[in-house]
Amino acid sequence: MNEQSTPTSAERVEKLQGLGSSRKRVEDVRFTQGKGNYVDDIKLPGMLFGDFVRSPYGHARVKKIDAEAALAAPGVLAVITAEDLKPLNLHYMPTLAGDVQAVLADEKVLFQNQEVAFVVAEDRYAAADGVELVEVEYEGLPVVVDAFKAMDDDAPVLREDLEGKTEGAHGPRKHHNHIFHWEVGDQAGTEKALEEADVVVEELITYPRSHPSPIETCGCVASMDKVNGKLTIWGTFQAPHAVRTVASLITNIAEHNIRIVSPDIGGGFGNKVGVYPGYICAAVASIVTGQPVKWIEDKIENLTATAFARDYHMTGKIGATKDGRITALSCNVLADHGAFDACADPTKFPAGFFSICTGSYDIPIAYAGVDGVYTNKAPGGVAYRCSFRVTEAAYMIERMVDVLARKLDMDPAELRTKNLIKKEQFPYTSALGWEYDSGDYQTAMTKALETVGYTALREEQAANRKAFEAGETRSLMGIGVAFFTEIVGAGPVKNCDILGLGMFDSCEIRIHPTGSAIARLGTISQGQGHATTFAQILASEIGIPAEDITIEEGDTDTAPYGLGTYGSRSTPVAGAATAMAGRKIRAKAQMIAAYLLEVHDNDLEWDIDRFQVKGNPERSKTMKEIAFASYNQAIPGLEPGLEAVSYYDPPNMTYPYGAYICVLDVDVDTGVIDVRRFYALDDCGTRINPMIIEGQVHGGLTEALAISMGQEITYDETGNVHGGSLLDFFLPTAVETPVWETDHTETPSPHHPIGAKGVGESPNVGGVPAFSNAVNDAFAHFGLTHTGMPHDHWRVWKTAQGLGLTG
């Protein structure tokens, strides 16, 4: 062989563009040219359009629906109501949380903008005309919009359909508006420890109702092919296989006759996990009319009817010694779930993984209890760019640690450092039962503090406070520190399922004769770049360049079964399945290579992209050669072809973590906040594609900015929703968004095949408390312990005014 032409090991690794490479995204070639294929881009012959008549009331009886005028309008073909769905038993659908949700209002509406009737017309304009013409007679009922009043004795009964049901999906219900009580930990022991503590702080921390609000709303195209009896639904589904199974269970159409396809998805952030009435109505309309039916919600519908997030009222209590050692934590949560319990949590976890609320700290004893209640608000409760209820937990503990620091008159960073779980304690079992896989928290904390020059910042702040007192400035400097631990990658089938479906994930690989490959997964990208990164995982495992590997997801007819993409589970679960399937390929490849080289399997070793004879690297077979041999040689004892499938049941969750520091200035006269600096150090274990990780962190931090500084969906006392359009709901533009500084440490997960932990959601989980702590910190020296989110100008100004700081 010609010496010069033999690539070096480094060149071969480079060519693979495997793990650790900032490979450019393959998706972008299409997207930058307007060649994406999102659900609203789908156009089928004879396609009709569906649109909803929605309730103007928060709580009302539906007395009469008159569709006559609508049906007479040009282009309107049908108006579907609950009465039409009843004979099919489709007027209610199961939710992911074990409750049911009205597909179309059954005699009563329970939140403003609830779906009341579905108008099917020739195009979207005619459908909108039809919606205007449907006459609905309502009789208003008293509303419950304050979660704290939901369980009053005289609170109106919201869910008449549950009348007499004292047992819910998660145990006993103690009131007609009660959904569940869930608790974990040692309540008596925690109370005792709190009583015995030198200091105790208590605070009600509210995480307001928000919404994931991707730029693309939810929608679908349902097409019933009456000739072969097959129902196909293209839609914005973060979990296509789960949707297929649910669709089969509720329609009684056999699962093989349903095909669910997720095309390109324009962002999800949790919004597209649930099953919504629009999907069911479009499917029914297609079955009835025999024509494809498209349903695409508009932004107002998206914000007010599909998938809110948060709405947690958390009362935290921390006990500590005088010198700042945390001795106990308790937290009682009132969870506002809206009109139907449609939370997208693993079934056995009605409060998600809220019990990660001991955070990054070594807390000896703890208790968490959560009560869910019904109110006249939209259903949802999705994990908005976080793992299930983890951002709520992180916000609570990170705010509480700051509250404790005030009480002890200690620096918040120092207090954290004192209580961080130590490197040698991993794997660490928390007081609430989670086994944290790996971490080196102190190193991350120290690196963060040093990089931002924390000591100097505090000195500058002291000077700023003096200047403020002296009347030399009207601006206050705030420094926010957060050290968060996420829990992602749900999860082990033994305790994680959704509607009985174990939360494993899958990958199926087929190597083509000429040495390129296709891999199909049970997940679905919504911007995470799976087509790029999963090919990288595989490239490193099987030695085929990433550019020669096609990644396909989202079509239930071709992809192996998986539970989809949310809760940062793709990398921890499907990423692991990919590596494991790759290893099966390699194992067979080794046998083929042994045959070709006429040596024993054990005499071979893997080297980047080939098997070589131990001690004689000149004798080798590349993966490409092996692939071809697998198709053209009759190898004794081996089947032809080179394929593998892996269903990966993770042994544990993964626990990414990070240290975030925010520096901002607050103008006390206007409440305007200027984020001067935001530093984010993430440890997500092995880094598959640093460029993509950084992009995910930028995006997550921007969502954290949005949540902490402005997002809120509220309801007035008559049940009208506020914050339900982009006029009121804050999505930051490039102008409000600061420049992000990112950094990392790398502590691989010991139980994940490649050590990766997942990162997409960390910045939201850690970012929110960092911002909020910074705002609170700006006022701390005036005795402020806690002011709630969102920290919009008005609220911040109110806080300043309350402290007597405004002119």
Partner: protein, 164 residues
């Protein structure tokens, strides 16, 4: 509803069609012409996903009636690359610098940036941020978008200088 006859140039091609007067330009483009690059992300003219170029100005095509575009010269994301398929420096830079994730805002964002660089060929970062503030992105946090636009501007400028 009676339809009106409309005629315009889209991406250099003359097109015509019949549409109800209330038809929004975005719907005419997407549904009648099959030009699905520009997207719909809101109902309040906030998101900019529908941004197209209309007679040399960026417009949100969800806020323009099709009749208002009568006789106009419209450019969408599909018309940004050169006729021979060579990508525009902005398209290259968005990919190179990871200026997109889900890609839903991208057509509007690039189309807007394309116009911005004609209005101001050498914008500062602050001017870029202001210049794209009518276009929302939920995925990227804008940082890499700003970078991509700056890099593309530099490239276009040096290509122009080299040509002069």
């Amino acid at each position: 509803m009676a339809k009106i006859h409309v005629k315009m140039t889209v991406n250099g091609r003359e097109v015509e069609g019949l549409a109800e007067p209330r038809t929004l330009l975005i719907h005419f483009l997407r549904e009648d012409l099959g030009i699905t690059g520009p997207h719909i992300g809101c109902d309040t003219s906030h998101c900019g996903a529908c941004t197209v170029d209309l007679d040399g100005k960026s417009v949100k095509s969800c806020t323009v009636f099709v009749g208002q575009a009568e006789g106009a010269d419209v450019t969408t994301i599909e018309g940004i690359a050169a006729a021979d398929g060579t990508l525009h420096p902005l398209q290259e830079a968005f990919r190179e610098h990871h200026g997109l994730q889900c890609g839903f805002c991208t057509p509007g964002m690039i189309t807007r940036a394309h116009r911005l660089l004609q209005e101001n060929p050498n914008p500062s970062d602050a001017e870029i941020r202001m210049g794209i503030s009518g276009n929302l992105c939920r995925c990227t946090g804008y940082q890499n978008i700003v970078k991509a636009i700056r890099v593309a501007a530099d490239e276009i400028n040096s290509a122009r200088e080299a040509a002069e």
